[in-house]
Subunit: 442 residues, 2 copies
């Protein structure tokens, strides 16, 4: 008698984009999932006999790894479209910081994050990396919705930190890591410093040291605007990446967000130190902050992931749209249409992101042994017809609303566009209530 | 007894964005339509008593004029994603021209156009301006689907034209205009020369003269790439817009497509001559062709409309995504986040397009007396929550799939995302068959 595999979920039919190192594409595929792990990913003909609890028919669909959003501030859904078409510093200091000062609380954080998570699932993201205030409440929202998260406890200095303040920061960092590290497989704690112009050198060094000792990711915003580089240069006499190198905060398990303003030497330093980059093209376009030199970073072997940034500066969390814009933006900004092809763009949004977050052994591709984080795209639509090349179609024609099913950690979280882990109507109503308060300036 | 208005369709509730000169926004609105014309557009409280044949409940929705796509090649849906990530001239000469030479026929044109029209309705476009081979078959597809079209009969010189050839071109132009001009209110015939580097001076002058005499729009591609300008300069000793001015083809009812490479003098000439510009940002990003100086053209009062270009270079016809990309691209390319706000972007995609096509008295805004071309956007979605500012939400967060209903010329062509004028399944199957032939290189 043949062995029958015990399988929780079998995805059958459709074309599988593995995003493996060999970029294998498998027609008429079968993906077997059990215990949160991918057991096999092959053609239907090659698949072992199995008796799945649930079968997902993916005929006419594309099956691929879930997208990895390496940078967002989920609770900012509450401020989506509150203040647009403004310069970054005016947007930040006259609108975002005041709104946050007035309306931030644990309830707003949780509710806003839940809405963000709902939007992400509906547009194909299965792992996100977030940073905000009260980050534990963001992590909780992700856990409740069944989304994988790298949750970044944020640090910012509103006044220069003294020893007592640094002690408090250290305690907060350690408490956050201890809270989330061992118990929640869907949550990777991390530490996030706002930027080199809003954090003192001592804070950056302290937070980086604690992250390194705990083996969790360390991240920060870097060189989003040109002005920011000038502040760092005038304060420390060094350009930003040289400054970060001098104070010892570059390295592995470390990623810098934005990096719109880097010179060749800074790019070399990021590469030689093993530091990753989170690229948020739409946010930096909308704020007129700049265009990160991503093709040059990729040429140097710098790990690059894609991110949407928060909803207040994008104004959505749709990674499939972000992909499309990213590929087109780099073509026109370098005047080279071959500089980032569709496959390269998809790699950045999956395996690249996984690498930046230090999760490359767990997620980013569909291969036996990896976590079962997959999405099924319905390709049987007018705007996706005809179909010549799947990478092109996904990058240049698909959008979030084409994602039909989403599986995270072996659990179906969306089936036929219906979210199974959240009551979206209630989630939306809860945020509308918060927005009413913001609007009334309560 | 009060007068009861005879109304075919009453749209009731929701917020109406009129896109009128005053940019009026009306909450809890009522729009009355009869005989293809908007009869009233006001608050529900102010609406006259009416006995509508059909009522559309737009509560929680945005109601606005249908989008105007000023430049596309609809049948190129057949080549969507066939050849991507290539330089423009290689894409055109090694892929598009050969595919067209082999597969172009009346059936392909009609079927491909029908698919394009289906995609456009589903993403909120109610008027398009097209140019391709066998353009009458494109116009017929638009008529059959109930979409308003400016259909451009194309002209290109593969060899230098002699008198006989010019005579044939004149006859073809006149025949096309005569065929479509009087009988079809949904079709505006126009004449389209491919470009100044693929059409002889005599051809441009002849076609422009015939268009002018018939009072129909004259259009052409212009300065898409930098190289193109160099060809014109070396051939005629003048930069492109100066050359076109010298041979007399600028003016009213005339629009130039792309215009990525213009100097200040050329922009002044377009403005002083009353020539319009069709802007296709995504296509020019993807082909790394360049970025048109749209803010400078708008400052000079040049009429500017938005277009998606064909599906082979975009790769979709979604004007809501094009809007978003346009607004963000100009912010980052000028490093000025205030250079094109959300309202300005929406104006370009509606009233601006109408002006470029010479249809500003008929379409582009929701006002009594104008053609009833409207769309209803469902704003009750996770990625559109909360809602602070409607222009921002539509430009930066909506996409084509948020369009719920579409009305063109007073007829409902899409209701609850179901197309009423087309069998989309058959339309997709027909194009898949064509794609099979293209793939097999039959």
């Amino acid at each position: 008698m043949n062995h029958i595999e015990k399988i929780d979920i079998l995805i059958t039919g459709g074309t599988l984009l593995t995003l493996s190192d060999g970029m294998d594409m498998i027609d008429d595929a079968a993906v077997g999932i059990s215990g949160g792990t991918i057991r096999f990913a092959c053609t239907r003909a090659e698949a072992p006999a199995s008796n799945p609890v649930e079968t997902i028919d993916a005929a006419g669909c594309a099956v691929m790894p879930g997208l990895v959003n390496t940078h967002t501030h989920l609770p900012m859904t509450c401020f989506r479209g509150l203040a647009d078409d403004l310069p970054l510093m005016e947007w930040l200091h006259d609108h975002m910081f005041p709104a946050e000062a007035k309306h931030l609380n644990r309830e707003m954080i949780y509710r806003g994050a839940l809405l963000g998570v709902a939007e992400m699932i509906r547009s194909g993201t299965t792992t996100c990396c977030d940073s905000y205030f009260y980050e534990s409440h963001v992590a909780q929202a992700a856990v409740d919705a069944g989304v994988r998260i790298v949750a970044g406890r944020g640090f910012i200095d509103f006044t220069p930190p003294d020893a007592a303040e640094l002690g408090k920061k250290a305690a907060a960092a350690e408490k956050f890591i201890t809270k989330w590290n061992p118990l929640y497989p869907m949550v990777t704690p991390s530490l996030f410093c706002h930027s080199p112009y809003t954090c003192a050198t001592e804070t950056l060094q302290l937070v980086k040291r604690i992250a390194g000792e705990a083996g969790v990711p360390f991240m920060m915003h870097l060189s989003e605007t040109k002005e920011e580089g000038e502040i760092v240069r005038s304060r420390y006499g060094l350009k930003p990446v040289r400054y970060l190198d001098a104070i010892g905060v570059l390295g592995g398990k470390t990623a810098m967000v934005h990096c719109n303003w880097l010179d060749e030497d800074e790019m070399d330093l990021l590469a030689s130190s093993g530091t990753g980059v989170c690229h948020c093209p739409e946010s930096s376009m909308k704020l007129a902050a700049g265009i990160a030199p991503i093709p040059k970073l990729l040429d140097r072997g710098v790990p690059v992931g894609l991110g949407t940034d928060g909803c207040a500066s994008n104004n959505d969390l749709d990674m499939l749209l972000e992909l499309d814009t990213m590929a087109k933006l780099h073509k026109v900004s370098t005047m080279n249409p071959t500089v980032m092809d569709a496959a390269a763009a998809l790699q950045i949004a999956t395996t690249g992101g996984a690498r930046v977050l230090g999760l490359q052994r767990l997620i980013g591709s569909v291969e036996p042994g990896k976590c079962a984080d997959l999405i099924v795209l319905d390709m049987k639509k007018a705007h996706l017809t005809p179909l010549y090349h799947l990478y092109s179609q996904i990058v240049y024609a698909c959008r979030g609303s084409d994602v039909r099913d989403a599986i995270i950690d072996g659990k179906v979280v969306m089936r036929n566009r219906r979210l199974l882990t959240l009551d979206v109507q209630k989630v939306m109503d809860d945020v509308r209530e918060i927005a009413d308060r913001v609007r009334r300036k309560d």
